[in-house]
């Protein structure tokens, strides 16, 4: 078997080409998410749709991995702290060729390798068991320290949610990463402004988020997490900063729950979004229509 290494994007690719590649991946991933949600009749579809662009940017542009060998020692590590975003992560793993697309329909079923909350012991390519929120960044600090100690050039990405900023352990880890100057660590915070009990600013005010990370000594960028061009530029800046100063980086991504499907974008926001049986097909059609309209207009503007 030929082992292929997926290197971020081809170095010769222009930003425009990289954006197109990531957007196409995100589009396919959103379809995977809707299909999984329909097969299970439920799931964290709203969050997976909001995070699809970020996850696509990671898997289709940033991460070095070998689809045939998910345990390859030299791989970059992507740590999903928010276990319930697993549905979105499975879509990314399918897009990356690590999990077969056919397997996605088993999401959340008995004996599936794709449980509702992501666990490292179940799924290839799933580095940690998330779900007890506030753990991911602490593990990521250790992963980054361990890799650096052993002379690995691999990078560590930790995906966490704005809700996890409520957890004190996240800030223990933020200080630890700065103290140990972990330039090989990038945190990605999905700010969808929504938590289990309601809007983040009514549950526990976390703003000003940017200032908090900056005060902890991180290189901070805040972008529209559904703007792929902005995301890729932020990843590029983070890598450059890490190279130059050895600082950990955080990319704060403001995202929209249900992104890409107007029916869900406009629905009352809920941690666990209710979608009726007949609505899944409508969601898919809206997703496709939106993507086609956008790519058509982008084609015209070229």
């Amino acid at each position: 078997m030929t082992i292929t290494e997926t290197v971020r994007a081809p170095e010769t690719a222009s930003l425009q080409e990289r954006v197109a590649r990531v957007e196409a991946a995100a589009y396919r991933m959103r379809h995977h998410v809707l299909n999984m949600g329909e097969a299970q009749g439920q799931g964290y579809v709203g969050q997976a749709l909001d995070a699809a662009d970020v996850l696509a940017a990671v898997y289709a542009d940033q991460l070095r991995y070998r689809a045939e060998d998910p345990e390859w020692e030299g791989r970059d590590r992507f740590l999903l702290s928010t276990g319930h975003y697993a549905i979105g992560h499975y879509a990314a793993l399918a897009e990356a060729g690590i999990v077969p697309v056919d397997e996605l329909e088993t999401y959340g079923s008995d004996d599936s390798r794709l449980p509702m909350s992501g666990m490292s012991t179940y799924t290839p390519g799933m580095e940690i068991s998330g779900g007890s929120l506030g753990h991911g960044l602490t593990i990521a600090v250790g992963t980054a320290l361990g890799l650096r100690l052993q002379g690995s050039g691999a990078r560590v990405f930790n995906f966490l949610s704005d809700g996890e900023l409520d957890e004190g352990s996240t800030w223990e880890a933020a200080m630890g990463a700065h103290h140990h100057q972990l330039g090989n660590l990038t945190a990605i915070v999905d700010i969808n402004a929504l938590q289990a009990d309601g809007k983040t600013d009514t549950v526990l005010r976390t703003e000003p988020v940017l200032d908090k990370w900056a005060a902890c000594g991180w290189f901070v960028q805040r972008v529209d997490g559904n703007d792929v061009g902005a995301l890729l530029a932020a990843f590029d800046s983070a890598a450059a900063k890490a190279e130059a100063e050895g600082k950990p980086s955080v990319i704060l991504c403001d995202t929209k729950v249900g992104r890409g499907v107007p029916l869900l974008e406009d629905r009352e926001k809920a941690h666990f979004m209710r979608i009726d049986e007949h609505e899944w097909q409508i969601c898919r059609e809206q997703l496709t229509a939106g993507y086609e309209a956008r790519t058509a207009s982008e084609g015209e503007s070229k």
Binding site: H135, T138, G142, S169, E172, G176
Partner: protein, 339 residues
């Protein structure tokens, strides 16, 4: 750090020597007893010389868990995580995932109470080789409930995959460290630090992870003990001989997985069975032995020597060990009362 709170009652006339709450990490060695300095720190250095994967971490308690010995010997393999126990153990799990073998130290209270979720999900569920080193287990400090980990084994016994070791002395610790490093999953060591008594070198004994060992035979009573209480058990056995009571001592330094076979073989006789542990009577050695006996259909009365199910007082260790029944005198009295 020292404190000077008086522990005993104030006597106006003919003052007795006032026992003070000792330094936070008080020695429980008897005056004149043979001890070994920092056995854990030196054992970790020795293991690390042979195994380059071993790293050390602490949460602002390196000096108080003998981790400073390792930090000095291997500065590039030592990681100070600050007073942040959730980070300490989450990061230790992350490091273990990359193939290194972390020993992460703090006090047992903080490991068991504060960082449980991180140890459980990040280290134990993926069965990673994370080695927890907990100082001040049970009643080994006079600082009161904030520092006395009287229920650490009760907390940790419910955690799947976790191996729990309660060493008696410097011999146990020195021999346990390389075995903990070599064992696959997570482990918890109830650390004895500083000048640690050296006791088991006088017996035909080697530490084997997962094994209980009969240290001495006896016809009337069987002591089943772990941790520093094995030292007390051996001392009590000698004193009981003067009362014509012949006592056997079975040392069970591995609490989980528990060597039920050896222990049941010893307690399933006509002898009085006594468990001795530096831990609350709830959820520790006594209940481990009792459960093993009940499961095997061994109907025996078992007398527990253990800490009471309550928050303990602050004070000087000798005072507290006497008060709560861990002293040799109290053990001897308990046995004579039960015979």
């Amino acid at each position: 750090m020292t404190a000077t709170t008086a522990a005993g009652p104030t006597v106006k006339t003919a003052p007795k020597p006032k026992l003070k709450t000792s330094a936070m990490i008080a020695s429980f060695a008897d005056p004149g007893q043979k001890t070994t300095p920092a056995p854990f720190g030196h054992a970790l250095v020795k293991a690390a010389q042979e195994n380059e994967k071993i790293v050390g971490l602490t949460a602002d308690l390196g000096k108080y868990t003998d981790m400073h010995i390792f930090a000095k010997a291997f500065p590039e393999r030592f990681f100070q995580m600050g007073m942040a126990e959730q980070l300490l153990f989450g990061a230790a799990a992350g490091m273990a995932q990359t193939g290194v073998v972390p020993f992460a130290s703090t006090y047992s209270v903080f490991a068991a109470r504060r960082a449980y979720d991180f140890l459980c999900l990040d280290a134990a569920e993926p069965n990673l080789n994370v080695n927890i080193v907990g100082g001040l287990p049970g009643l080994t400090t006079g600082y009161g409930p904030s520092h006395q980990a009287t229920e650490d084994m009760a907390i940790f016994r419910g955690m799947p995959n976790l191996t729990i070791v309660d060493p008696c002395d410097s011999v146990d610790i020195e021999q346990a460290v390389p075995q903990l490093a070599a064992s696959e999953g997570p482990t918890y060591l109830r650390l004895l630090r500083g000048n640690v008594p050296t006791v088991l070198d006088e017996y035909d004994y080697t530490f084997e992870l997962g094994k209980a060992k009969v240290l001495r035979g006896g016809n009337d009573v069987v002591f089943v003990s772990s941790g520093l209480m094995t030292m007390r058990a051996l001392q009590a056995a000698k004193e009981l001989a003067a009362h014509n009571v012949d006592v056997a001592v079975v040392h069970t330094p591995t609490i989980k997985p528990f060597d039920a076979e050896t222990v049941l073989g010893e307690i399933n006789t006509d002898r009085l069975v006594v468990t001795l542990e530096n831990h609350t009577v709830v959820g520790g050695l006594f209940e481990t032995v009792a459960a093993a006996a009940a499961r095997a259909g061994v109907a025996k009365r078992i007398l527990p020597v253990a800490l009471p199910d309550e928050f303990l007082h602050a004070g000087a260790l000798p005072t507290l060990h006497e008060r709560y029944g861990l002293s040799v005198d109290r053990i001897v009295a308990a046995v004579l009362g039960a015979l």
